[in-house]
Each structure stands twice: as structure tokens, then as C-alpha cells.
């Protein structure tokens, strides 16, 4: 039972550790099943997503706000977003779903390695732009992770249908990311007076936007028509950039206006 912060003694049981560990167990089981029976894996993933979403709602109810106030909740929300995107874009192909489920498990394990204490958000987080900005960005991360996983399958099978999926996932991620940046920009203006700052996290957010903006122009470039491998390659590189933007800027660069 985790320690509950002062003032949150009435937190519902669903807000604390148990359901998060249950969701993690579902994700691990889904990953294991994906290697033998992908169909069963989808069911396990679906149960995990529902439990995880309920636990997240419970934390939100306990603090009266969107539960994204620390690193635990950030990694948990990222895992939930990737899990949801995996379920939505499900394909019964091991090479596509196993890396995505592994990513969900790693994100969830990272979340559970941090204290699960509940805490109230600081006043600067109390704006509508914050709970719009962060989930949109996590869904974009999930969508681009799926594009990278689909690229692995394309490199193995060379099936044009996977190229179509990669294009669509990259474009959807770009749309989600653009709206996330718009919301983040509005938040930046009302909180700090600027929609952009020379801060590593924000610079890498811009990098992601430019990377996927140029990605979606590749299939319009005649000189690249005979090189279909460019888009899958860019999707994989883009996912590396996602990891740098999300994890690297907080843990490697060290100095960022974004705590997580």
C-alpha cells in the first residue's frame, strides 16, 4: 500500500497501487500471448487498458484534476496511450504487436518504479491546456511507435499495404502532435508568456513536428518514388527522436522547463 499524501486520505482504492499492478500484469500476459496466440493477446491487452484507464480515472478523482503531476503518472499515461493505440491499430502480426506491447510493459514498469504517492498539481498546471496538451502528445507518441513497428514488418515483408499503414499512422500522429503543440503553445503563453522557449524539451517537440512534416511529404516527392524504404526508415528514426524528446530530454539533457 503506497503512502498517501496529506489531504488525500480519502483516496479511492482504485487510485492506488493495486489496479496499476493488475494492468501491468495484463500487459505482460498480452506480450507473452502475442508470441504464441495474438488473438488472445488482444483480449488481455483490452482488459489491461480498461483496468489501467479506471485506475487513472481513480487518481484523477482523488486529486480533483487530470492525474499527470509526476513522473509515475507521466509514464503510466504514456503506457496507457501506447496500449490504446496498439489495440486500435491491432494487426495479428507478431512483429508488429510484440514490440509495441514490449514498449507498453517497459513504460509501465518505469512508472511503477517511481513512488505512487498522490499529490495535488501545482497552480501552473491548473489550466485546460495542460490536460489537452499532454494526452494528445502521448497519443501521438503511441501512433508514431506503431508506425515504427509497422516499418519493421515492411522491411521483412515488403508488402505495400504496410506502407499505407505507416503513412496513415505517421499522418495521424502529425495531426495529434500539431494539436498538442497548439495547446502547449497556448499554455506556454498564459503561464510563461511565450509559446516557444530555447528549452531542450520544446526544441525536441519542434524537431518531431519537422521530422514528421517532412515524412508526409516524402510520398509526394517524385525523386523518392523508386525508394519506398525511405518512409519506413524515417518512421524508425522518428521513433528514436520520440524517445529522445520524451525520455532523453528529461533524463539525459538534465535541464528542461519540463519536469517530465
Amino acid at each position: 500500500m503506497p503512502e498517501i499524501a496529506n489531504g488525500l486520505d480519502a483516496a479511492p482504492p482504485f487510485a492506488v497501487a493495486g489496479p496499476f499492478y493488475a494492468a501491468f500484469a495484463c500487459y505482460v500476459a498480452a506480450l507473452a500471448a502475442s508470441l504464441v496466440r495474438p488473438r488472445i493477446s488482444l483480449w488481455l491487452l483490452g482488459i489491461g487498458v480498461v483496468v489501467h484507464f479506471g485506475a487513472t480515472l481513480g487518481r484523477g478523482w482523488a486529486i480533483g484534476f487530470f492525474p499527470l503531476t509526476n513522473k509515475m503518472e507521466s509514464f503510466s499515461a504514456a503506457a496507457l496511450a501506447v496500449a490504446a493505440v496498439t489495440a486500435i491499430s491491432w494487426r495479428d502480426v507478431r512483429l508488429y504487436i510484440a514490440p509495441l506491447l514490449a514498449l507498453v510493459c517497459v513504460a509501465m514498469l518505469t512508472a511503477l518504479s517511481f513512488p505512487l504517492d498522490l499529490g495535488f498539481p501545482p497552480p501552473l498546471m491548473r489550466t485546460i491546456w495542460y490536460p489537452l496538451h499532454v494526452p494528445l502528445s502521448f497519443f501521438a507518441y503511441g501512433t508514431w511507435a506503431a508506425a515504427a513497428a509497422a516499418s519493421l514488418v515492411w522491411f521483412r515483408d515488403r508488402d505495400p499495404a504496410w506502407l499505407t499503414l505507416i503513412d496513415r499512422l505517421a499522418l495521424n500522429g502529425f495531426g495529434l502532435w500539431s494539436f498538442s503543440m497548439i495547446c502547449g503553445g497556448f499554455w506556454g503563453v498564459v503561464a510563461w508568456g511565450a509559446y516557444f522557449m530555447w528549452d531542450v524539451k520544446i526544441i525536441w517537440s519542434v524537431i518531431l513536428w519537422f521530422h514528421y512534416a517532412s515524412f508526409i511529404h516524402v510520398h509526394l516527392t517524385p525523386s523518392l518514388f523508386p525508394r519506398p524504404w525511405v518512409r519506413p526508415a524515417l518512421a524508425i528514426v522518428g521513433f528514436v527522436w520520440v524517445l529522445v524528446a520524451y525520455v532523453g530530454t528529461s533524463f539525459l539533457f538534465g535541464r528542461s522547463s519540463h519536469a517530465f
Binding site: A5, N6, G7, L8, R91, V93, F120, P123, L124, R126, T127, W129, A150, V153, D159, A161, W162, T164, L165, R168, L171, N172, G175, S178, F179, I182, G185, F186, W187, V189, V190, A191, W192, G193, A194, Y195, F196, M197, W198, V200, I203, W204, V206, I207, F210, H211, A213, S214, H217, V218, L220, T221, P222, S223, L224, W241, V244, F253, G254, R255
Partner: protein
Amino acid sequence: MHSDRNGSRADASRTAWLFSQGLGVICGQATVLLLAIGSVVLTATRDGASASIAMDDMRAFFAPVSAVHLWFYLLVGVLTLYALNTTLATYRNVVKKWRAGIRAPRFYAPAVIHLAFLVGLLAHGVGGVGGAELERLALGPSWKQLGDGREARVTGLEVDPNPDGSMKQLRARVETRDAGGSSAETVVFYNGPLSRGLGSELMLLVRPHSVPTLRLARGEDGCDVEVAGVCELGDVRAELLYLHPPLQPGQNAFAQLRVQNTGAGDAESFSLTPGRSKQLSDGSLLSAEGFGQRPAILLRHRRAPGNPLALLSSILLGLGLLMLWRRFSPRANTV
């Protein structure tokens, strides 16, 4: 005539690269690379060559010009070329579609997104060159100049606590008035700055504060005034220039005041200690009744001329993406 046509074709082929998708992809990836290098350089030189780079400022990259910031100078060149490529390609594409009789708005969605990109670049340029961090302002119960032609004062302050006692939100009721005398009341809070010109002038809440004040009385009128603040006592406007605490125990504190009768007469400046009165030129008595502390807020004054353009860019980007909604639908043939 024939050779002219061949000549213009040759000219067109010489400039075709400027319109090409390939140039756009190259510029996009070059931007990614340069920004990635920049993120490493900025982090590594945060205490050195990049120490003066704050917020969205671009001037600091040139003061002084440094080899460390070569990535930024190259980025300016790449983005200029990117903007030129986007402008030319978008213009040609829109003209082509229009001449072909295409009128459905969704076909112009990419052009709207490209326009958002161009306006966004312009916003960065204008904000990066014209933005400024101005002096912080402690705003209390007496009128203070905001620096944009307006005066403001705090008329109420409320702290909304969380159940654990931490601050949930701070709300300050602020009254503003402009030179013309028209006043307005607004609430300033975290994520709710005092804003003007679509965010180009912002007074952002930093934290709650308190200010030492002097209690003044003139006849039946009374007010609390803080340093650099003004209060009105009937037809007299009193400005507290300076407030000095006692230098040694047992000594009196004193205040330096400038008083102006709004009806007529020159401004008078004088010092006054608590418990004493001063006879003004109109014969009335102005008394300093004592010192106090009044709740106030500390505000950050930021000039951000790029914000209105960024707002326009956001609206265009959002609009363009919504116009593209069909392309996001999951009905495309995939695996």
C-alpha cells in the same frame, strides 16, 4: 518567339528546384539535424556562450556572434530557404487547382497548413527579435503604472487551498484604467495573466506578495499607499515616492510624498513621519497615520510581439488539419 519560349523553359527548369517537394524534404530534415545539434550545444554551453539566451530571444545568438552558435546561423538560412520553397510551391499548387476548377475547401487544406507554417516562422522572427522581459512589478492596493499607458491596483486577493493546505489557485481582482479614465476589472491568476493586444503585452502572476504601505488621511478621506503607488484623497492625488524604515531603534520612519491637487496648483514634495500632519497649499491637512502591510501580487511584465502571429498560426494550423479530416479516417486500404 520560338527561342524565347525555349529560353523561358530553360529558366523555369533552372528554378524548378526551388518549387520542388524534394527541397522541402531536405530543408525539413536539415532543420531536424540543426535543431538536434542546437539542443546539445545549448545544454552544454548554458553557463557559457548560451548563458544569455532566455525565453524565445534570438538577439542573444548575435551578441556576440559565436562559432558555438553556427548551427543557429545555418538554421536561419535553411528556414529562409524552406519558407521560400513553401511559398512558391504552395502558390503554384493553389493556382493550378483553382484553374482546374477545384473549389472544395479540403483540397486547399495543405495550403492553409503551409500558410500556418509561414506565419509561425514570422511569429518566431518577430517574437525573437522584438520580445522583452521588463521589470517585475509588485502590485498592491494603490494605483501603479503598468508601463503600457495603463494604471492598475489590486482590489481583492483570494487563495484557494487544496485539502492538504497547499495553494490550488490564487486569484487577484485587479482594476485597470487607461489614460482616458475608463476602467475595467479583471481577475489575474496562475495561467490567467493580465493581457493586452492578443497576448503581445502580458503581466504574468509570479507569486503572492505583500507591500509596506503608509496610511494617509485628509479630512474624512483615507487611503493606504505603497511605494510608487498613488492614492486619491478627494481632489488630492498623493504619490508615495519613498518609505524609509527607522534607521535605529527609537527613531521614526519617514515617507517622501509628492502631492498634487487635481484642481490646480503645482505638485508639492515633502517628507512626513507617522503621526505628523502637513498643511497642503489648499489649507487642508494631510496626516500620515502609520505604516502597515497590504497583500499584493508580484507580476512579470513580458512584451511578446510574436504571440498574436503565433495565435493566427495556431488557428490556421488547426483549421487546415480539420479540413484534412478525411485523410485521418481509418477507411484507407491497409493490411
